[in-house]
């Protein structure tokens, strides 16, 4: 089983004004691991996924998904329609 898992960690991190190191310290991993996660080169454990969702105070399915997340412009279009 090797399905692609999409995530919005970079977006939520930017929104929270956090650096990779700050987010890494918050969840107890190496800053490089946050970079690998953001680039989709590493799939987190359930524990790490829940910890990341906890830092941003959002449900885990808002952060990770099997389907690609819609772009911001697409979301705006759908909201306006």
């Amino acid at each position: 089983m090797s399905r692609v898992i999409h995530n919005r960690i970079a977006m939520f991190r930017a929104d929270a004004g956090m650096s990779r190191r700050e987010l890494a310290d918050a969840v107890g991993v190496n800053p490089q691991t946050i970079g690998f996660l953001e680039r989709g080169d590493y799939k987190p454990s359930l524990e790490l996924a829940l910890l990341l969702a906890g830092v941003f105070s959002v449900p885990v399915e808002l952060l990770f998904s099997f389907e690609p997340f819609p772009s911001l412009s697409q979301t705006l279009k759908e909201t306006r329609a």
Binding site: A24, G28, N30, P31, Q32, G35, F36, S45, E47
Partner: protein, 169 residues
Amino acid sequence: MIEHPGSSLSAWNVRAGRWLHTNMWLLAPRFVIVLSLVLAAMLLWGIYDVSQGAHDSFWLGSAFFGAFALHAGLIIRRQGWLGLEAPPDERERLVEMSATRTAGCVVTLLVAVWAWLLGWFADRGMWFPRDPQEWESTGKFILSAFFLIANFTAAWMTPPYAAELLDES
């Protein structure tokens, strides 16, 4: 040449300075890949030397010492004992486990094939250790091969942009 503060050359200089200062370049993935290949070549030359009757091969001894030192250095760094990095997280532990498993499988397979071939060709001149010193060299060869394959695999599984991620943070 004018160097702009935001240029890649400037960033490279800063990174190179930090790496040289902390000696991190000694254990960087690409350096580990090259060093592992060089030591593997020395190791193969060393076991060939032993098979030709050199009981105390310089190449095998150097490769064994180098592989052992590299492996020990990487373990010390990964565990964060040098103070340069934090203890390994789940991704780093996964890379280490995968590399160790790969090395174990490859070495076991090679030793099994060697033993199998010996069953067929030992009587027809295929080399095998006969005295204690040759057995000792063979043990060093197998152990070094394990260390080198494990370190090579772990370095290979680390993307080249890993160091840049540290700078960006």
